[in-house]
Symmetry: C2
Subunit: 541 residues, 2 copies
């Protein structure tokens, strides 16, 4: 049915343009050309210089035949070239593949093959692993050495270095305009504790929107100074290369994530914002007092990856910092759920505030849908804070899919929702709270037991430093909870009876661990406890 | 050419969703259901209530057959129903047509016909003009009376009142999901000083993006309290119904824009943000001291429509308020250009700061392109602060086009840019500064003379209250500048010789007015000087 609104009101060049976060850079460079864009040790350069360098990267790559359909991979810590790749690579139309620097050579080699790497940028610190990975790979990418003045010197595995590549750029080389916001722009591999990692594909529209979403969730105002504690290989630094550039902020780079370099950088540049997993918060909270005294007042910290424990929240907030808890996965461009804070919660006691803040919360405004759903019936669970379902996402900040994996793509996006594999409840105020990963849930006598809930009870014991609870196969119950406990320094292990009765104060009987094991817990290099190893140990007990 | 990134990574329900600002309401209502959404005199209701009421409006309209392809018009001041229409109407798929309350009945009748009005919501204050307009119109819309408790009572021209319409809503009526972000959602008529007004059509994508753009340009943080001084009929209140809802803010409604009710509302609700033309700023600056003392500290004011004069900026900032100067037109969703402020400008003397702030500035991040272009060659002017060109816009916050006016649409969007008709220069720092409307420029002996520049010189004279300069036809020069001047109370008119030599200190010789006329200047009800009337007078001199 034709009506006057559906005729002669078409999309034309003047009124329709693909959304892309790459455009934030020329936008900010035009307004604040002289403002510091990047600080890295003694190096400091402006937004005009950053734009010039990113365009040089794009032009040099284009001249070497890189464009739509190509993949440019990078293995590097949070150095300026890594930030530049977030603009220069998608400017060409190619896909940026930022590789986890903690992976072994075999996995990196797999990623180079699977992602069809055409160009590989390598920081000298990772020259060895990259060399070995290239040896195992069938790809023969152009390898470029990133000569970071603050990194190891005199290591070169590539055919040229990064500055030489940039110097090749001919200003006459045209940078193509993006024609489709659905075009892929990034490829990020999930960590995949078992099996090969999956390649998550992002598009320009989603990255544009989640960069904006970060800004809203954090209540960010123009001109932040942002410290790069969060790895850029992690969901493209949770989209912050684009968010900070959108806000005309200063990117403070950092090679090493440890208390002293973090705090010295915070102080030297009067940093206003930083991100990190709870382990990074713990680093700050447990730093020596004379270091902690240097933390600039009003520092805003976004955390995700796990709910921050109450003691950590208290510790960090006592430093005058403010924590925003967010939640997401690689498949949803990093965080796109946040624990939106209510003013009236400020008056509550710390334990209450910590419990409220530990909840994952509500969707970013750019996320169309977030719900906790029974994956069998696809019906939302009641908002009772008790019924467990699977966290599901829908909207423009959900990935295109998994590269060369149509089955996994279809399964994960089935029924109009992205199935996260995380198990949660929905509270009466619509805030979601993660209870477990699907694979971490313990099913004992037909009852679901949240390993996180049992761990929470154990963490309350004064001797417990860290706790991880996994399923132990059991002939009678199917599974029972098995607790692995790392004690505080100097603390003695309580007896099983004592610890059981301690837990009984906090847990229903069927949730009580049947087995306690003491010792250091196996952790990934990001500080995540490796539950799959503990499950194997529990099985062998 | 097929590659792995272009296969099996398709748009599906989980990962692709039309952008619409209507979604900000359920989003905020889910997070802050109990927060005050609307304050209107003694009336106050929450986000949950606002959502319920907007959905009721949508359902009642849908049940009456309203949906995509229909038009719902409204003539009302800034009352709660006007805000609700900004969500409830587009929820149905229909277009919201908010009509300027200052128009005469003939023009309103024209708009009802041209916009193909199906439903008309009328505030009692405008019952007479609406009645008369309906009499002149060929449309027979469903007419709904808005019974505002703070408006005139006992006037009814419709078939039912608004609350009765809402009461009709059946919760079972399904509100359709938007399937296309390019779908029209609003129809706003330009003021058109001559001839019939043109109907500018907005789509959901553009309104979503400009609502976000407002937030960035203003550095807005969550939870503002916003006073509705800016008419909602003006470019949908510059998209602020959606911006404030996105930010979970409180909408403080206001029927009358005058110093006392504004300041009393600011004080009563500790308002944080308001918008208005410079005339509204002048109202505040020239209010009695005891009233001014009530203005809450840190009030943020966005102004557009004309560059705020230095004295007004000084007056308002001395009240502790902060002014953000923006610029736009109906065709670009209201403001989408802003004078982004540089910290280092704060140290400059007031005159410098006022001159910097009077510039229109730089694009919102959601506007893809803004430039000053020679309309003949379509080449950008140099950034010399001197060469005049036409301001042009491109991107997603440019209108779909003019309704039922393909010629005007094509002309205005020709060459990949929206041609604004405003003439400006581009400064070396990329900030644009409007010099005139195309039709206001004076061409004398082949030289362009900016009427704004000549007016600026006249405004510096101590006796001048207001000045408007237009072209007077001249046999020798083609045109010469003719100055119409309104004197300050009690001031005497200077001699033409004295005023000419005063102007010579500020203007090049060829720009000097050749004619001076004293008397009150004709103004629109929004305070804009009606230059077309002055041009007629100048011609008749």
């Amino acid at each position: 049915m034709s009506n006057p609104f559906s005729t002669n009101l078409d999309k034309v060049a003047a009124n329709h343009m693909p959304l892309t976060p790459v455009g934030f850079l020329p936008h900010t460079a035009a307004i604040f050309p002289d403002r510091d864009a990047v600080i890295h040790g003694a190096l400091r350069y402006s937004y005009q210089a950053l734009l010039d360098r990113c365009e040089a990267l794009a032009r040099a790559l284009i001249a070497r035949g890189i464009g739509a359909g190509n993949t440019v991979s990078i293995i590097a810590p949070n150095v300026p070239a890594h930030l530049e790749a977030h603009f220069g690579v998608p400017m060409t139309g190619a896909v940026l593949n930022s590789i986890n620097i903690r992976l072994d050579a075999a996995t990196v080699g797999y990623i180079l093959d699977h992602g069809e790497c055409d160009v590989l940028l390598v920081d000298a610190q990772f020259a060895d692993v990259a060399s070995e990975a290239l040896g195992k790979s069938e790809r023969q990418p152009l390898v470029i050495d990133l000569d970071d003045s603050l990194g190891p010197q005199g290591v070169a595995i590539g055919s040229m270095n990064y500055e030489a590549l940039l110097a090749e750029a001919d200003p006459a080389t045209e940078i193509p305009a993006l024609t489709d916001e659905w075009q892929p722009m990034a490829l990020n591999y999930t960590s995949g504790t078992t099996g090969n990692p999956k390649g998550v594909v992002y598009h320009h529209r989603g990255a544009y929107l989640n960069a904006i979403g970060n800004s809203f969730a954090w209540g960010m105002t123009p001109g932040p100074t942002y410290l790069w504690t969060l790895p850029m290989f992690h969901c493209n630094g949770w989209c912050f290369p684009w968010t900070i550039t959108l806000q005309g902020g200063t990117h403070v780079c950092l090679r090493e994530v440890a208390a002293e370099p973090i705090i010295e950088s915070l102080a030297a540049h009067q940093v206003t914002h930083m991100c990190g997993a709870p382990i990074v918060l713990s680093m700050l909270a447990s730093a020596p007092d004379e270091l902690k005294a240097k933390i600039p007042p009003g520092l805003k910290i976004m955390t995700a990856g796990a709910a921050p424990p109450a003691a950590v929240i208290a510790g960090v907030e006592s430093l005058g910092a403010e924590i925003t808890h967010t939640y997401g996965l690689t498949e949803v461009y990093g965080p796109c759920v946040y624990c939106a804070w209510h003013e009236e919660w400020n008056g509550r006691p710390l334990a209450d505030r910590a419990a409220l803040k530990a909840r994952q919360g509500v969707p970013y405004p750019v996320l169309a849908g977030l719900d906790v759903i029974d994956p069998e019936t696809m019906q939302p669970v009641p908002t009772d804070g008790e019924t467990i379902g699977e966290v599901m996402f829908r909207g423009n900040v959900v990935m295109k899919g998994y590269l060369k994996n149509p089955d996994a793509t279809r399964e994960s996006l089935e029924g109009g929702w992205f199935h996260s594999g995380d198990l949660a409840v929905k509270h009466p105020d619509n805030y979601i709270e993660i209870k477990d990963r699907s694979k971490d849930i313990i099913i004992s006598g037909g009852e679901n037991i949240s390993s996180i809930e049992v761990e929470g009870a154990l963490y309350k014991h004064e001797s417990v430093m860290a706790a991880a609870v996994v399923a132990k196969p059991d002939d009678k119950w199917g599974e029972t909870p098995c607790a692995f406990i790392e004690l505080k320094q100097g603390a003695e292990a309580p007896s099983d009876e004592d610890l059981t009765s301690f837990c009984r104060e906090h847990l229903a009987g069927f949730k009580l661990p049947k087995t306690f094991v003491y010792g250091e817990l196996p952790k990934t290099s990001t500080g995540k406890i490796q539950k799959f190893l503990l499950r194997e140990r529990a099985k062998a007990l």
